[in-house]
């Protein structure tokens, strides 16, 4: 199990009901983690519609998870 810190933006924040959380996960990649969170929080957006950043750098979805990673999921927004 890996402990990671999560930050949510825009629709994801709204759907998760918080701007961040710490989770313990069995997922091995960022994509697996998102799919797990999507099932839990009912996120409407698929991973392909998002950008993900790990430790303040944009990241590929197949990146392995490491203990203590800070992971940010970013959807495009259009309000003005």
């Amino acid at each position: 199990m890996t402990v990671v810190n999560l930050q949510y933006y825009a629709q994801l924040r709204e759907q998760a009901g918080s701007s961040g959380e710490q989770v313990q996960t069995a997922a091995t990649s960022v994509r697996e983690l998102y799919d797990e969170l999507r099932a839990r929080h009912g996120f409407s957006l698929a991973a392909d519609a998002l950008k993900v950043a790990v430790n303040a750098q944009f990241s590929a979805w197949d990146r392995p998870l490491r203990e203590g990673d800070t992971i940010v999921f970013i959807p495009p927004v259009a309000g003005g």
């Binding site: 927004v77 259009a78 003005g80």
Partner: protein, 515 residues
């Protein structure tokens, strides 16, 4: 005698000496030279012929007017007559004054009036061997648009001189920076929550030309965040309202307006007319079109967008090797997945902050102020003020698909090939009469509030792809509230080979305006 005609070369040093006075702290000179072309023809040289007595009397009068009008110490002018070669000095004007500002303005006044009023004709000799007398053309007289400097405190319309002293005082701005701003052309797409503060600050800063694009009319629900407008403006076109506000705020700013959104057929050409573009709409389609047009025209673009209490900012510099919007999110997401101010809500100061940041980025770019060079996406949450700056790795973006230019070219071509998707109707009855089947893509809750009251199929926009077979029959008109969901769904269905699917432009809200 302050004005004279000369048929020999002018000694400019001697002229300048003649204007030195102990009370003068500034001197400004203008020289007009013979250039090598006029209206596309190559010029070899020219010949000036003057009605001497009249020219001298009128020249004296112009100089006296300039001294009186601007309160300068002294002014002088020499105009050449006879044969001149390319590069020769044709007219010399010098003004000395206590302060530089009057000297600059008096100098400008004198050359404009001389071009306009002096009975001097010129005969151009072309490289092809022929000659022509050139007619006197009307010149723009800058001073007709400014006030009598002695009467600054009168604020009658058209009699205002902007005072940029507070920003010119900044070492990084100065007079040179102010001149750059005055020469700059900025296009602001969207005059709403983001556009209002952006337009205000850019007009106040003295940007030479502002282009404003907005197809919407002001609604009461806009006023909590769209600070250029007031209650009397409801129902008016925002682009025109914004242009009026700019004229009131800074009459020296030239404004061009577009009261229809840009489209794939004109965006690149319009971007080329500007030095910089701010994307301030709440429309994902417009954001992608702006990114593509910026890349294809090489025009820097400042993107911002907000969601409830937070927002995103990205500067697309449109230089080779720098990322665009598609480098982050390659494909335009479905409108229902993105949310909007209408559906998700927004607090007024949020677009206010981000529009202000867009104006700041524009000024930083124009003035070449220090800014991080590394391209990044900036995320700012205004509840807890967390700021996240994520560097964008160009290699991970469009580079994998042929680069931003190739990707943008493809995207624009695709939209243009689908230009028949959008159709306009004033009444839905007309669409039925034209043989369209109506498909309502709105959610059940929206339909309950405003039913179509005409035969229609109901398919929520997120589910269209599950109804491809059903929608493939006959000519289909997709309908939603604003035309965004229907436009997006129509493009998805076209990609599935459904050639007869169309979208009602502007959605039901456009019908309301027309009827």
């Amino acid at each position: 005698m302050r004005f004279r005609l000369s048929n020999v070369q002018v000694d400019t040093a001697q002229q300048r000496e003649g204007l030195k006075h102990s009370g003068s702290g500034g001197f400004c000179a203008f020289e007009g030279w013979v250039r090598d072309s006029n209206e596309g023809r190559e010029v070899d040289g020219l010949e000036y012929e003057a009605y001497a007595e009249l020219a001298e009397a009128e020249g004296e009068r112009i100089l006296a007017e300039a001294i009186e009008r601007y309160g300068v110490t002294d002014a002088g002018c020499v105009h050449r007559t006879g044969d001149l070669k390319v590069g020769d000095l044709a007219v010399w004007i010098g003004v000395s004054a206590a302060h530089r500002d009057e000297a600059f303005r008096a100098c400008r006044y004198i050359i404009d009036e001389i071009k306009h009023r002096l009975p001097i004709w010129k005969k151009e000799h072309y490289l092809t061997g022929d000659t022509a007398w050139v007619a006197c053309t009307h010149v723009h007289r800058a001073h007709e648009h400014e006030s009598d400097p002695a009467h600054h405190h009168h604020h009658e319309p058209g009699a205002f001189t902007p005072d940029y002293s507070r920003q010119v005082r900044l070492r990084e701005v100065g007079e040179a920076g102010q001149s750059r701003l005055a020469a700059a052309r900025i296009l602001v797409i969207g005059a709403g929550g983001l556009g209002c503060p952006a337009i205000s600050y850019l007009a106040g800063a003295g940007i030479g030309t502002l282009g404003i694009v907005d197809g919407d009319r002001l609604e009461a629900s806009n006023l909590h965040r769209q600070t250029l407008y007031d209650t009397r403006d409801i129902g008016e076109l925002k682009a025109e309202l914004a242009a009026r506000r700019v004229a009131a705020l800074n009459p020296t700013v030239a404004v061009q307006t577009w009261t229809e959104p840009l489209h794939a057929g004109n965006a690149v050409e319009i971007f080329r007319q500007f030095d910089l573009v701010l994307e301030c709409t709440d429309d994902m389609r417009s954001r992608y079109l702006s990114s593509d047009a910026a890349v294809l025209s090489g025009t820097p673009l400042v993107l911002a967008s907000v969601y409830q209490y937070e927002g995103q900012l990205q500067v697309v510099t449109a230089q080779p090797g720098t990322p665009c919007l598609r480098c982050l999110w390659p494909l335009e997401p479905a409108p229902e997945a993105v949310g909007s101010c209408v559906q998700s809500g927004v607090l007024g100061p949020v677009p206010g902050m981000f529009g202000t940041m867009q104006a700041m980025e524009a000024l930083k770019l124009l003035l070449d102020l220090p800014r991080p060079c590394e391209p990044a996406l900036l995320l700012l949450n205004l509840l807890d003020y967390t700021t996240t700056r994520l560097p964008i790795d160009v290699a991970q973006g469009c580079a994998a698909h042929g680069g931003c230019v190739a990707v943008a070219r493809q995207a624009v071509a695709l939209v243009q090939s689908q230009s028949d998707i959008d159709v306009v109707f004033g009444r839905l009855e007309d669409a039925l009469a034209a043989g369209y089947r109506l498909v309502d893509l709105r959610e059940a809750g929206e339909i309950a509030i405003e039913p179509l009251e005409l035969p229609s199929l109901q398919v929520p926009s997120a589910q269209v792809m599950a109804h491809v077979a059903e929608l493939a029959e006959g000519r289909t008109l997709l309908i939603c509230a604003s035309g965004r969901r229907s436009g997006h769904a129509a493009r998805l269905l076209r990609a599935e080979g459904l050639e007869h699917v169309h979208s009602l432009v502007g959605g039901l809200s456009a019908l309301r305006v027309i009827s």
